[in-house]
């Protein structure tokens, strides 16, 4: 009976497993294989040897190094900043009564808009063309600051736009998670703390923060992973020739190696993808270790 039930269970799982196997497990496995096949020819499907040459090539490719640098800057700036800003906005939202729903809706709007569309809007806001300076530059001009080309200008300006955009696009989800986490903290804790004369800062630091730590931790982990995988936002802002713009990301590099102008190198792409995987894994493990001490699950 038990055996028969088991069999039935597996049978029901079969369709999902077939799909996962074909579209997830097999490609994952294949990426490993590709990354070690040296001199792989896409057309003839042949390779010359097995070794670490692909990794060596990728790690010496200036475009890849630029992509790594860009990605790390993006991650290091946007993850802490967006989480902090989201927390501040959530705290503010949680402490107002009037118009709370309206503000919540406004803050949530970016979440339901399309990445590419928003990217284009950002480009229009920041881009300097022959006909116009762009809205942001007009604003800068009114303060007596000279126009800056944010889209095709200096590296820091482009990085600024990218970070600004990334923070803006990830905020709504974080605010949503944090407002509900804040709302679910039992009011009695705050009442007890008030009766005991706890200062506001201490209430926040000693009660609120530990209580919402699981949600914060979740946001930091997914934030790191999401920022490391940044690609479509960059395309929306700076177009598809990211290497030329000097704004490529790791995922962008992988894509370019496969399908870009210089593409057709699945081995290099696979090696780059696995390097990204190693980075994300390391960061996540570090996060988990840090969280052991500081995250309080109830």
């Amino acid at each position: 009976m038990n055996n028969k039930n088991n069999l039935k269970g597996w049978l029901y799982l079969l369709p999902a497993m077939i799909f996962i196997g074909i579209f997830m497990v097999y490609p994952l496995f294949d990426v490993f294989v590709y990354s070690f096949e040296e001199g792989y020819n896409f057309a003839s499907q042949t390779y010359q040897g097995i070794g670490l040459y692909n990794y060596s090539y990728v790690l010496h490719d200036p475009y890849f190094l630029q992509a790594i640098k860009n990605t790390f800057i993006l991650v290091i700036i946007t993850v802490p900043l967006s989480t902090t800003v989201a927390l501040l906005i959530s705290l503010a939202l949680n402490s107002i009564k009037k118009l709370k729903d309206l503000f919540q809706t406004i803050f949530f709007l970016p979440y339901v808009t399309n990445t590419l569309a928003v990217g284009l809007v950002f480009m229009i806001l920041f881009k300097k063309t022959a006909y116009s300076e762009g809205l942001v530059n007009l604003l800068l001009n009114s303060f007596g600051i000279a126009s800056i080309d944010f889209i095709e200008g200096p590296y820091w300006a482009k990085m600024f736009v990218l970070c600004f955009y990334t923070i803006w696009i990830v905020l709504p989800f974080k605010i949503l998670i944090l407002t509900s986490a804040l709302a679910s903290v039992n009011k009695d804790y705050y009442n007890v703390a008030r009766v005991d004369g706890t200062s506001r800062w201490r209430i926040f630091y000693k009660i609120t923060l530990p209580m919402i730590s699981p949600s914060l931790f979740y946001l930091v982990i997914t934030g790191f992973i999401g920022a490391f995988k940044a690609y479509s936002d960059v395309v929306a802002l700076f177009g598809i020739d990211l290497n030329a713009a000097g704004m490529n990301t790791i995922v962008g590099y992988v894509y370019d190696m496969l399908y870009g102008n210089s593409g057709g190198y699945p081995s290099f792409a696979s090696a780059a993808a696995l390097i990204l995987f190693a980075i994300v894994l390391t960061i996540t493990v570090i996060n988990l270790l840090v969280s052991r001490k500081n995250v309080h699950y109830q």
């Binding site: 009695d188 009766v195 005991d196 706890t198 530990p210």
Partner: protein, 363 residues
């Protein structure tokens, strides 16, 4: 510290209907003497917890004043009132150990009030010993039983040696056996510290058993205040009579005719008032089986629960319950003729209430 409430009133806008105003506490005007254990008693939603929150400062009154001793605290925020509060769900910080929970209020102190680390530890230990949880200091709240959690909450409320200790339904989350133990603990702690303590409960037995004074309220209005036995023996109205006592008082429709109180045709007492319809409350322990007794009921059955023997019978005029319950001595002989049992009644256990406003009729 004595607590004085002066015409204290709290009104809320109804949660269900924005145009409706609910008066949770209606013109409370009384004094709570220093160093006593006070039970604030009433059915759910009668404003007990609101009263407690007003005293502790989490709510501000619509009108009226609150004094601690001679000090007007009406407009003081809770942290400046020197109260300790224990919430119904204890509200222990789940991420902190028992020690850290008890230390928390001390660590809030600033400036000259701030104690040295050793002094804080010592005070926390003292409070923990008082409630007998000094061996559990390193545990987290979720590793404790309900009763232990409750004692931690009391220790946390006591560690700053407040002038007033407030307990909101302190026993309602405990099982029956633990409840008995814990209420004795609360009694002991209160006696040892001598802190004026107010606790809220809807369980009359709880309030009666440990309080020095009980305050009975209903729908935001104070009904009666006094020593538990006094209130029990001499209720001012039908509500108080029905609310106190287990098993509950038996209530009958009756009438006063020629200064005699009748239930049906049976005369159960005398009241020197004009003829009128009345409610007659008879405590279960008022009944004495007596062949010549004046009060007749239809015998149903005898129930023995431990040391109590109760006679369950029926009377068509009874309005409180289907059954009339009489608690009698176990060795009492029953006179049971044709299914009719007769009782004589202890006169001081029979209360007569006016039909008009349900207040008691003496004499």
């Amino acid at each position: 510290m004595k607590i004085v409430l002066e015409h204290l009133t709290k009104k809320f806008i109804s949660r269900h209907n924005k145009n409706e105003i609910v008066t949770a506490v209606n013109d409370f005007d009384f004094e709570i003497p220093d160093g006593k254990l006070i039970g604030l008693l009433g059915p759910s939603g009668c404003g007990k917890s609101t009263t407690l929150n007003l005293i502790c400062g989490l709510e501000t009154p619509t009108s009226g004043k609150i004094y601690f001793g001679d000090l007007d605290v009406t407009n003081l925020p809770p942290e400046n009132r020197g109260v300790g509060m224990v919430f119904q769900n204890y509200a222990l910080y789940p991420h902190l150990s028992v020690r850290a929970n008890i230390l928390f209020p001390l660590e809030n102190l600033k400036g000259a009030d701030r104690l040295s680390k050793e002094a804080m530890e010592e005070k926390a230990m003292e409070a923990a010993k008082l409630v007998q949880i000094d061996e559990l200091m390193e545990r987290k709240p979720n590793e404790l039983s309900g009763g232990q959690q409750q004692r931690v909450a009391i220790a946390r409320a006591l560690v700053k040696t407040p002038g007033v200790l407030l307990l909101d339904e302190p026993l309602s989350n405990l099982d029956a056996r633990l409840r008995l133990q814990t209420r004795e603990q609360i009694r002991r702690i209160q006696k040892e510290t001598g802190i004026t303590t107010i606790f809220v409960t809807h369980d009359q037995e709880e309030a009666m058993s440990i309080s020095d004074l009980i305050i009975v309220m209903k729908a935001g209005i104070l009904q009666q205040m006094g020593q538990p036995q006094e209130v029990y023996n001499d209720p001012v109205n039908l509500f108080v009579a029905q609310f106190l006592g287990n098993p509950a008082i038996n209530v009958f429709d009756g009438s006063v005719r020629d200064h005699k109180v009748y239930i049906g045709e049976d005369c159960v007492g005398e009241r020197n008032v004009e003829d009128q319809e009345v409610s007659v409350g008879i405590r279960p322990e008022a009944f004495i089986p007596d062949e010549k007794g004046p009060f007749r009921c239809v015998f149903d059955r005898v129930e023995t629960t431990g040391r109590d023997t109760s006679i369950v019978c029926h009377n068509e005029h009874c309005v409180s319950d289907e059954d009339v319950r009489a608690i009698v001595a176990a060795d009492e002989k029953l006179n049971n003729k044709d299914g009719i049992i007769r009782f004589s009644l202890k006169p001081y256990k029979v209360h007569v209430f006016s039909k008009k406003d349900e207040t008691v009729i003496h004499e």
